[in-house]
């Protein structure tokens, strides 16, 4: 098979992995060698599905000894199988990077022979890129559960990010859909990576020159919609992963039915649910929310028709209205329509004068959302444009009751 044919198959096979972030690594450029990191990450293009393309996302091979029900590459599927040689991946990465098509490489693989052998093949690609080609761009590599810890540690010194996909949130679901995998096998490389990273950070405090170990941290992916777990279970797991392994990101992937299998639902990808999970994930990481708070009084799933922050606000009328000219940063963050940036700006701007509704819009507050939940110097902001119905809602707490009705 020619290289174009392989590229088609092995890009197509890699596309269900949603992680494409290239952030978190400030790998410095070096004179005479190609590449550098960008802490904030850079998107280079957007595909027809609207997803950002930052990294060249490839499988080394789509052959696999496992038979996971949801996976296109499972052993029992009758599909064309192919593999890249390490140098083919190296060349594509270098050529694409030189033209500024990509921020780096995302390398994953089906499992050939056994986990350690597979990990060794992937490591060969990364070693050639870093050592022979002196490539300084971003590399995200999958750690294969079951691979020799020594191999994983070696890889960690060369790449920017490593990830192990949890895919299914409970042991029962794994047993059902991915009989070759276990929770234990998935979590142990995560713990290994987390501990090794901590070790190197600790050494870095004492010694002058310590290599960095996965500087952009580790991430994982959870598939939603293939199994019956509630949002609460999914986010509970995510929050435990953030805490225990200090993950940088948990990605949520709306399940796309690829295989016909009696164990799997037939449905359109639950994109709305995926979106709500990301919103909730942000609330957990940047807004000081706890998992339990997001599900108070609900059925264990996020509300489909309203974002989780608005839902919390509506369930807590006693918390509002918030006085923007006095409230603490943490309190401002709870107001729908106020984000991390606008809350920071409010805190900075009110030092030099009291803020009114117009000022808030300029500071980036989405007044359409925030209006019902705030006071500016003791007064509810009433928009001149709003009709009578709306202004009845914004005046006082009785109005909040009306907002509760759709729930």
């Amino acid at each position: 098979m020619d290289l174009a044919g392989k590229l088609s198959i092995l890009a197509d096979a890699a596309k269900y992995d949603v992680s494409c972030s290239s952030s978190g690594s400030d790998r410095a450029s070096a004179p005479g060698s190609l590449g550098s990191g960008s802490v904030g990450g850079i998107c280079h293009s957007w595909a027809d599905d609207g997803r950002c393309i930052s990294l060249l996302k490839l499988l080394l091979t789509n052959s696999c000894i496992y038979d996971c029900a949801y996976c296109r590459n499972r052993r029992s599927n009758d599909i064309p199988r192919t593999s890249f040689t390490p140098d083919e991946v190296v060349d594509l990465t270098m050529q694409f990077y030189r033209r500024n098509y990509i921020e780096g490489l995302f390398l994953s693989s089906g499992i050939v022979r056994d986990p350690d052998h597979t990990m060794g093949l992937m490591l060969a690609v990364v070693e050639r890129l870093r050592v022979r080609e002196r490539f300084n761009g971003y590399i995200h590599m999958k750690a294969i559960p079951g691979a020799d810890p020594a191999t994983i540690r070696r890889a960690g010194l060369l790449v920017d990010r490593m990830s192990v996909n949890v895919e299914l949130p409970t042991e029962a679901s794994l047993k059902l859909l991915a009989p070759d995998k276990s929770r234990e096998a998935i979590f142990s490389p995560m713990a290994l990576i987390g501990n090794a990273k901590a070790e190197f950070l600790e050494d870095g405090k004492r010694l002058r020159s310590v290599p960095s170990f996965v500087p952009a941290g580790q991430s994982t992916q959870l598939v939603v919609g293939a199994t019956p777990e509630s949002d609460r279970t999914v986010l509970g797991l995510a929050s435990a992963l953030y805490r225990k392994f200090e993950l940088k990101r948990v990605y949520y992937s709306a399940y796309v039915p690829i295989n016909v299998d009696s164990r799997l639902p037939v449905c359109a990808p639950p994109e709305r649910r995926e979106n709500r999970l990301y919103q909730a994930d942000w609330l957990l990481r940047f807004y000081g929310f706890g998992v339990d708070e997001l599900f108070e009084g609900g059925d264990g799933n996020l509300v489909d028709s309203l974002d989780p922050k608005a839902v919390w606000a509506i369930r807590h009328p006693e918390f509002f209205p918030v006085e923007v000219n006095g409230a603490d940063y943490g309190v401002l963050l709870r107001v729908p329509g106020i984000g991390v940036k606008s809350a920071r700006r409010i805190v900075a701007a009110r030092k030099s004068g009291r803020l009114g509704p117009e000022d808030l819009s300029r500071l980036g507050v989405v007044m359409k959302r925030a209006r019902s939940f705030i006071l500016c110097s003791g007064r509810a902001p009433v928009s001149l444009l709003s009709d009578g119905r709306e202004s009845r809602i914004v005046r006082g707490k009785a109005g909040l009751g009306q907002l509760l009705l759709p729930l």
Partner: protein, 267 residues
């Protein structure tokens, strides 16, 4: 009074100097007073080729003066601080209508009342400066991703060439990023809308060249491998999208069509 300048940022700084000098001369007794906001209220600044003469408005051309531009830059750096000055430069590069005059007002306020004033976004001129600098920053960041180099062979040597067209003048803002990242080959990023280019040569670093243009179609200079690599990239681009989730709205929301012209994967 509208002060007109020719050329880029240095010409603009010359006009800023002129504005303050004229106000001082008009009322020498107030030289040390901190009333610039009011004293400069009737002065505007505009680049000469963008100026559309208005009825009753007087205008004059301020000739280029390097020493005055230097003094102004040092003075503004002092009055605004590093961060404020960088924001002002970014706002200037946005080339939005009216931004030059808004910047003058922004400077006047910071000189009158201290650099803390730059954070007061409820003041319209400050907001205009903030918005404009944010725009430039966003577009510059976008182009760190959207630049597409073509590998050319020019008299036996490889040169990487990328044409772009942007709303803001982003070249000065992306120069450093590209010079760091692609430091081992010669390259050119050509702002085709402004006839300006970043030109990088290994060993001598990056220069901003004005009046840059190519008179022959660049395809004729493609290296032997260029077409093949482009074909690989197009194929990858097509294969990486999930068919079940295709959405034109999401695509164009995140990557507006105005940026597609020079993207290998969209042509």
């Amino acid at each position: 009074m509208i002060l007109l300048y020719e050329g880029g940022f240095r010409g603009f700084l010359g006009c800023v100097f002129e504005a303050f000098a004229r106000a001082s001369a008009a009322d020498p007794s107030a030289r040390n007073g901190a009333d610039w906001i009011e004293r400069l209220a009737d002065v505007g600044i505009e680049r000469r080729d963008r100026y559309i003469p208005a009825l009753f408005a007087e205008s004059t051309i301020v000739p280029h003066n390097g020493a005055r531009a230097d003094r102004t830059e040092a003075g503004l750096m002092h009055a605004l601080g590093r961060e404020g000055f960088d924001a002002a430069v970014k706002a200037y590069l946005s080339e939005r209508p009216g931004i030059d005059t808004a910047l003058l007002r922004f400077f006047a306020r910071c000189i009158d009342r201290g650099m803390g004033q730059s954070a007061r976004l409820e003041i319209p001129e400050n907001f205009a400066v903030f918005e404009a600098s944010r725009r430039s920053g966003i577009e510059a960041h976008r182009f760190m991703g959207l630049v597409r180099f073509r590998e050319l062979e020019v008299s036996g040597a490889a040169v990487y060439y990328a044409p772009i067209e942007s709303d803001c003048f982003v070249l000065p803002l992306i120069a450093r990023h590209f010079a760091d990242r692609f430091n081992d080959r010669d390259w050119v990023i050509h702002d085709a809308g402004r006839d300006a280019a970043l030109v990088y040569r290994v060993g001598s670093g990056v220069d901003l060249a004005e009046g840059f243009s190519l008179d022959l179609p660049v395809e004729g200079l493609y290296s032997g491998e260029e077409r093949l690599i482009q074909a690989y990239w197009r194929r990858y681009y097509a294969d990486i999208a999930i068919d079940e989730r295709v959405s034109r709205k999401r695509l164009t929301g995140r990557m507006p069509v105005k940026y597609w012209k020079y993207l290998v994967e969209r042509n």
